[in-house]
């Protein structure tokens, strides 16, 4: 993952999700309802191609946890939280035995096997997913 990230550093917002997020009315959708109906996140089931597209993640340090020099990353949707934790630990040169916790909405710590794409769908805003990271448990 480290190699991937270094080559996709600093995608400016304008080239990111707006182009990648499917239009609200997806031709595959079975329901004739207008796009402003049920789902706020656009589209129905994502076509396979979308799982390859990356989402923007903004990493914020909590407390006295070291701050990443690069905070904004384009990450594949299927990357897991554990994958992200391993990456941050490597980037910050933390020892393997040191713990790192990741929080969404400054309120819950997603399961290590959770995919960032799903978190982005449900908790992303302004085209990015903000994640706080901390060496100790910040929000329980």
């Amino acid at each position: 993952m480290a190699e991937e990230q270094e080559s996709t550093l600093l995608l400016p917002p304008s080239t990111a999700p707006e182009a990648e997020v499917p239009a609200e009315v997806s031709p595959e959708t079975a329901t004739p309802e207008p796009p402003s109906s049920a789902a706020v996140s656009p589209g129905t089931e994502e076509p396979v191609g979308d799982t390859k597209k990356k989402i923007d993640i903004l990493l914020k340090a909590v407390g006295d946890t070291p701050i990443m020099k690069t905070k904004k990353w384009a990450v594949e949707r299927t990357r897991t939280i554990q994958g992200l934790i391993d990456f941050i630990k490597k980037f910050l040169k933390l020892v393997a035995s040191e713990q790192l916790f990741i929080y969404v909405n400054q309120s819950f710590a997603p399961s290590p096997d959770q995919e960032v794409g799903t978190l982005y769908e449900c908790f992303g805003s302004d085209g990015k997913l903000v994640l706080h990271y901390c060496k100790s448990q910040a929000w329980g």
């Binding site: 329901t31 309802e33 049920a38 789902a39 129905t44 089931e45 909405n105 096997d113 908790f123």
Partner: protein, 262 residues
Amino acid sequence: MTDDKDVLRDVWFGRIPTCFTLYQDEITEREAEPYYLLLPRVSYLTLVTDKVKKHFQKVMRQEDISEIWFEYEGTPLKWHYPIGLLFDLLASSSALPWNITVHFKSFPEKDLLHCPSKDVIEAHFMSCVKEADALKHKSQVINEMQKKDHKQLWMGLQNDRFDQFWAINRKLMEYPAEENGFRYIPFRIYQTTTERPFIQKLFRPVSTDGQLHTLGDLLKEVCPSAVAPEVPVPEVCSWLPTWLLASSAEGSHLPSLWRDWE
């Protein structure tokens, strides 16, 4: 919500008769008898199998024992998935009892999370509750609760205490009178037919013209392959509002919808 109490109780007290057998390659000092247990659907494997662990460890040497893990027909069972979900996904079409194999060696690192203590289960459970409330109430209700309320929720689950659990959970099921429901319905759809772990998306309980969304609406929107024309959508879809399902299925933590057209 009082009318739904029967449904809530049925969901809470759902049980799966299970037979635990020790994996044949485990080293034992004498024959290990299978162990039978009724598993609560709403709980987690590592929370309710202390007796299973003790039973098999009695016939093993300490040096042959490391972290316990469970498997069904070759598939490692994720302890962080509710028991009912695991059963419905993997074994619902097989005859009862559910036959689970117990291992104490060769922990499958790629498939399973470690579960070193009950604290890990509690943290996972509370995180699920918090994630659900983030969707339902922008985390306002869960954040306004005291630490002891969070603890009561967990203890209710751990000790199988319906009233203790729901005394707190009912607050997570409320919404302001002026709203028609939660902000978004917390749901996850698991399917055996796909590589994806589950489907989870934003979904409002009410449409823009004020109609209550049903389970059928939800499935059509987020999982259209599940409602292909040749597969009849169960009758329940046409009238059961999604918020009711969200309330009754597995309490306030993310209810999991799993397919069962039978």
